[in-house]
Amino acid sequence: MKGRGLFFYAGIYLLFLYAPIILLPIFAFNDSTIIAFPLSGFTTGWFAELATIDALHDAVRNSLFIAVLTAIFSTLLGLCAARAATRYRFPARGGLMTLIMTPLVLPEIIVAVSLLVVMVQLLDLRLSSWTVIAAHTLICTPFCIAILNSSFQNLDASLEEAAIDLGESRFSTFRLVTLPLVMPGIIAALLISFTISLDEFIIAFFLTGSEPTLPVYIWGLLRFPQRLPAVMALGTILVALSILLLIVAEYFRRRGVARAGKEDSGGFL
């Protein structure tokens, strides 16, 4: 009986969680410039409008560039830290890992303003996509580490020892044994950091130069009521894309768990 009450509550809660995502495509296909009920008619015109906005295409290209590089850098940095933390004992391990994981709980605006001060006021750098990449790599690395930590923890150390005993070098052991086993974790980390970077606004708003990222561009559009239906269409595409990426990431994460012969115990983070 208690279980059924909780099940009912879980249903309501999921509705609360999904309410915005359910509404998004409804308004994206609605034939009215006002984002409200009642709906007036079906149209795909807002999607067609997206194809005509050049500034939007620049923003998408810019965001993709930033997200791809962020994903690569943060996964590489995450690999180093996760491998070091799970495999070796060394002085200041706890302290260093705490520092590296701090962006997970630090308010994003603190990261944004502190980097802005250093880059503009102290170093006199010009803001560009690279400043955004630097900041995004910082905040995505902890997520990569969280995913890769569990990959490395699931790894059976005796497999590596066996390879070394059989005459492989440390490097070739890593390449031939370790890497394939943690590859699903690496792919999941790449996809997650790509998704975070693509969607990040608070920091990007402070650190983009003259070329806006996609969220910064969307933020500008939100001020123009006549543009809102197009934003809904754009949002629908983004949501569909992120769900697709997440399903792929989840698939690889699970495959990783299965490959390590462990029982699956939950999702990301």
Partner: protein, 286 residues
């Protein structure tokens, strides 16, 4: 230092150096910056407490700091209270094979376009919004509810939505770790289901609850998108002012001081919470 320690340090060094260069050093820089002052277009580099005096005495900044603290506390309480039953449900009432799917379902909305999500809450909560039209439609209310948009309530609802997975996941992990035989033992020894929950399950889940509180409470103070879009004039928070000082008023030192004050404020509350929790859990003889 043995070989393992050297290898470990070498391997972690790129990530650690990156964090030192782009996190620790900038945080130190912003602290230093908050003691400088803006002199029209130039930065005056003599150390002064002027910004802090202004941040702590100007009524507007005091109001924004106080309101941000209250909103963050409200968001934390609402988010964690709503999240606990979900985490409990998934951990105790979902078949083991289905748990990963539930967790996946819960995390999906979190990964989807943040700006658009916040904007849609404006659409949901508005005067002619989805919530009001449907409540009037089914006859629950006659007049549209007006206390749910352009004020602090709207900010709390929207942020509680944004941070939901952050609260659910740590609690879920803590609940998963509980040895189920302890619960059986409690029941066998004559405790009711209710007292088993309060005397065994909840204390064992506390580490997860503490993590959830911290991971929701601390970042909430730094959000300026939600207050700007759904908060109205009475729902603006300190992060909006920090953003304005940096990007519009061009008074970065004052903005830095406000950021430092806000961080100190949340850190003190967070540390007090951890301390109270330790004392409460440690002093109870459990």
């Amino acid at each position: 230092m043995d070989r393992d320690a050297r290898r470990g340090l070498l391997l972690i060094s790129p990530t650690a150096l990156y964090a030192i260069a782009l996190l620790a050093a900038p945080l130190a820089a912003i602290l230093l910056f908050s003691f400088w002052s803006q002199d029209f277009l130039e930065i005056d580099r003599t150390l002064t407490l002027k910004n802090y005096r202004e941040a702590l005495t100007e009524p507007l900044y005091r109001l924004l700091l106080w309101r941000s603290l209250l909103i963050s506390l409200a968001v934390t309480v609402v988010t964690v209270l709503l999240a606990f039953p979900i985490a409990y449900f998934v951990s105790f009432h979902v078949r083991p094979g289905r748990k990963a799917l539930w967790i996946f379902l819960i995390t999906i909305p979190f990964w989807t376009s943040y700006l658009v999500r916040v904007f849609l809450w404006k659409v949901i909560l508005g005067f002619n919004g989805v919530l009001n039209t449907s409540l009037i439609g089914i006859g629950v209310i006659d007049e549209p509810l007006t206390f749910i948009l352009y004020n602090a309530n709207a900010v709390v609802i929207t942020l509680a939505h944004a941070f939901a997975p952050f609260a659910i996941l740590p609690i879920f992990v803590a609940l998963e770790k509980i040895d189920r035989s302890l619960l059986e033992a409690s029941r066998d020894l004559g405790e009711s289901a209710m007292s088993t929950f309060f005397r065994v399950t909840l204390p064992l889940a506390m580490p997860g609850v503490v993590a959830a509180v911290l991971i929701v409470f601390i970042p909430t103070i730094g959000d300026y998108v939600t207050p700007r879009l759904v908060g109205g004039p009475d729902g603006l928070m300190i992060a909006n002012m920090i953003q304005t000082q940096f990007l519009r008023l061009n008074n970065a030192p004052l903005g830095a001081a406000l950021a430092v004050v806000a961080m100190v404020m949340v850190s003190v509350v967070a540390l007090a919470f951890i301390w109270l929790n330790r004392r409460w859990l440690g002093g109870d003889g459990r």
